[in-house]
């Protein structure tokens, strides 16, 4: 009996190891080949990059058609501003939705929920035309608001549920002390929302950082994803350079993920589970 159990455990571990290798292999290939010259890549794709070369990285940085700094800047601005704005407006809206029990607030809640099901492709063309009619040019500022609009549904929903689970007494006590609603929210409630905020920030932030379709179709804003997509074109014959681009896109995310792994998992799954 015991021996059988042992055998099963070993079998399980072997299975998991094989699967882990399969999952990691493409990532390993991408990272190790970034530091190899292109000729070696096809002959020995699995070998370690010894001696490593930074030739590929250098040619990416030096390429006249790519501006890595600009891409990182755009992506960072979009991610930070988009996430911050989403958190602010959604948490405030959720405060209203969770604490006011009127028919109107109920309706508003459903109204915000509809957005979760929307296949985003439906709004690209109308958005282009809307911007034209308002004579707003494409650009990072507009895109920030577009990202916020796309994430409000999810974030508001999460915050509303979370605020529901918090006792109202604290807020009432603060109000008796003469605090305004605004103060109550920012000074008392918002700090309590921190776990929820982390979850939302990761979900929204990562979503914006990795988004490809939205910046591509709304004016081809050079974010890291769109930038790499357009830059790889002329170099697609040289895998070393392609891998170097991928390296630039993926490395920040992998590093942050390994540091804040728990938060990532919560952030990306909690949303789905609550929904």
């Amino acid at each position: 009996m015991k021996a059988k159990k042992r055998a099963v455990t070993i079998l399980q571990t072997v299975f998991l190891i094989i699967l882990a290798v399969i999952v990691l292999l493409p990532i390993y290939i991408a990272i190790s080949n970034t530091f190899k010259v292109s000729d070696i890549i096809l002959d020995q794709p699995l070998s370690l990059p010894i001696p490593p070369t930074i030739q590929n990285i250098v040619s990416v940085i030096k390429s006249p058609n790519t501006n890595m700094l600009e891409m990182y800047r755009n992506s960072t601005i979009l991610m930070v501003a988009g996430t911050a704005l989403t958190v602010i407006v959604s948490s405030m809206a959720a405060y209203y939705l969770a604490r006011v029990k009127t028919k109107f607030s109920g309706m508003l809640r459903v109204y915000f929920l509809i957005g979760i099901m929307v296949p985003y492709v439906i709004v690209y063309m109308p958005l282009c035309i809307l911007l034209r009619n308002l004579s707003i040019p494409f650009g990072v500022p507009v895109l920030i608001f577009v990202f916020v609009s796309g994430n409000i549904s999810f974030a508001t929903f999460m915050y509303t549920n979370y605020i529901h689970s918090l006792p109202i007494e604290l807020e009432e006590a603060a109000e008796i002390d003469g605090a305004t609603r605004f103060q109550v929210f920012w000074k008392i409630l918002f700090p309590l929302l921190r776990p929820c905020t982390t979850t939302i920030a990761i979900f929204v932030g990562l979503g914006i950082w990795n988004d490809f379709q939205t910046p591509l179709l709304l004016g081809q804003i050079k974010t890291i994803t769109v930038g790499i997509y357009t830059a790889v074109g002329p170099y697609s014959a040289d895998w070393g350079v392609v891998f170097a681009y991928v390296f630039f896109a993926a490395m920040p995310v992998i590093l942050v993920y390994l540091v804040a792994q728990k938060n990532f998992v919560n952030g990306l799954t909690a949303g789905a589970l609550k929904g």
Partner: protein
């Protein structure tokens, strides 16, 4: 009291949104007029391996030097589908003032403004064209399309000559195949056009246009169809070539640059490609490759040469400055025009012809077709009888289907359906 707070909050948030919107909105206005009394125009371009950002920068810099009161801002079309990019810009109202590939967009009414007489006069009359009786675009260059590049050493080893007829070409392919090598290279999923378009332009357009010189007109009037014997014949022959294994096995998963790279590495002996390849080979002083005009199937001596067109947007606020820019490039300082042409192996369309020193491959390319009549590619023909935009990419996909074994007749039938559908929609 409470009510006032509510109102304040609403007002604040409205102001937040409004200020953002207004802030962005202002940018266009100040953008197109002046920061310091300067006029600004936007210039929509694309870049390739040959036409790099330096070519445009050179053009813009020298213009700004000679016209200090005007600044030119480059708008770079990115992504793989440039037509889609321009249309997005159009839908969003961010369309550049001057656009360098206007021929397809010009079929939609009201996008480009009429070209003044003095600007029209700079160009060769045969290259000018009209849409609804108005000249709204200027020809920027003429480009000779698809010929067949070949690996000289393979031809030498197998004792092959440049083929003069279609049958000879087939023999060349078969000989290379029999020698255990791959005769032809093309691109695939990475760059959809690179699969069938080069072959179609060299064989299909020439065959159709030698039989029906007014094919575009007939197509538009409904007196002719894509689905005719000539089209089916050309494509069936092409599919046969694929089935005989003349094409590189992995062609369909290559992008254009990968295909060109593989060709240069010797993975296939021949590749049908445009004159830009000749310019590219010359700039590397690469002597390993030769080029011959792909013999037409019916033996007719015609060659496809396309003109490309620039247009000035109807919504441009400084049309004078925009045309000044055009006059500068094509007339006042033809050095920048020359640099542009030379970079991609292009030919001038101006009355004051511009020439430059051609490398060996380019010279050979031109010699090959010196005696031929030139015609415009069917889907790129500008003017009244232009094909609806979207037709090109539809055909490119269809070529891939045919390459992978789809029924030629059914595919060509779908061309007619799509042609009508696209025409209808525009």
């Amino acid at each position: 009291m409470k009510k006032r707070k509510a109102l304040t909050a609403i007002a604040l948030s409205a102001a937040l949104v409004a200020s953002c919107l207004a802030g962005c909105g202002k940018k266009t206005e100040t953008g197109s007029t002046a920061d310091s009394g300067k006029t600004k125009i936007t210039f929509g371009v694309f870049e390739t391996d040959n036409i790099t950002s330096e070519v445009w920068q050179n053009m813009i810099d020298s213009f700004e030097k000679d016209h200090p009161d005007i600044t030119v801002e480059k708008v770079l079309a990115t992504g793989d589908d440039r037509q889609a990019f321009w249309k997005t810009m159009l839908s969003s109202g961010s369309f550049p003032d001057v656009v360098i590939e206007a021929e397809q967009l010009a079929t939609m009414e009201g996008i480009f403004t009429e070209v003044p007489q003095d600007v029209q006069e700079l160009f060769d009359d045969t290259t000018l064209c009209q849409y609804n009786g108005k000249c709204i675009t200027v020809p920027s260059f003429k480009q000779y399309k698809m010929q067949c590049y070949y690996n000289k050493s393979v031809f030498k080893d197998l004792n092959l000559e440049e083929p003069q007829t279609w049958d000879e070409f087939m023999n060349v392919c078969q000989t290379i195949k029999d020698a255990g090598q791959t005769p032809l290279m093309c691109g695939g999923t990475g760059d959809i056009w690179a699969t069938g378009e080069p072959f179609w332009i060299a064989e299909g357009d020439t065959a159709l246009l030698s039989k029906y010189p007014d094919f575009n007109k007939e197509l538009k009037e409904g007196t002719n169809k894509w689905n005719n014997d000539t089209t089916v014949d050309v494509l069936t022959k092409w599919q046969d070539m694929v089935n005989k294994g003349y094409y590189y096995d992995g062609a369909m998963s290559l992008s254009y640059s990968q295909a060109a790279e593989e060709f240069k590495k010797g993975s296939a002996a021949m590749m049908v490609d445009g004159s830009w390849q000749a310019a590219g080979l010359d700039s590397e002083s690469n002597e390993d490759f030769g080029v011959f005009a792909l013999p037409t199937m019916d033996g007719s001596k015609i060659t496809v040469a396309d003109c490309s067109y620039w247009g000035v947007s109807e919504t441009c606020e400084n049309k004078d400055a925009a045309f000044q820019f055009i006059k500068y490039v094509f007339d006042e300082n033809q050095d920048v025009y020359k640099t542009y042409l030379q970079a991609d192996g292009l030919y001038s369309t101006t009355k004051k012809a511009v020439t430059y020193d051609q490398g060996n491959v380019t010279t050979k390319f031109i010699d090959n077709i010196a005696d031929n009549d030139t015609v415009q590619e069917i889907v790129k023909l500008p003017g009244e009888n232009a094909a609806p935009s979207g037709m090109q990419s539809f055909m490119d996909k269809s070529f891939q289907n045919i390459f992978n074994g789809a029924d030629v007749k059914t595919e060509v039938e779908s061309w007619d359906t799509e042609y009508q559908r696209l025409l209808d929609a525009q």
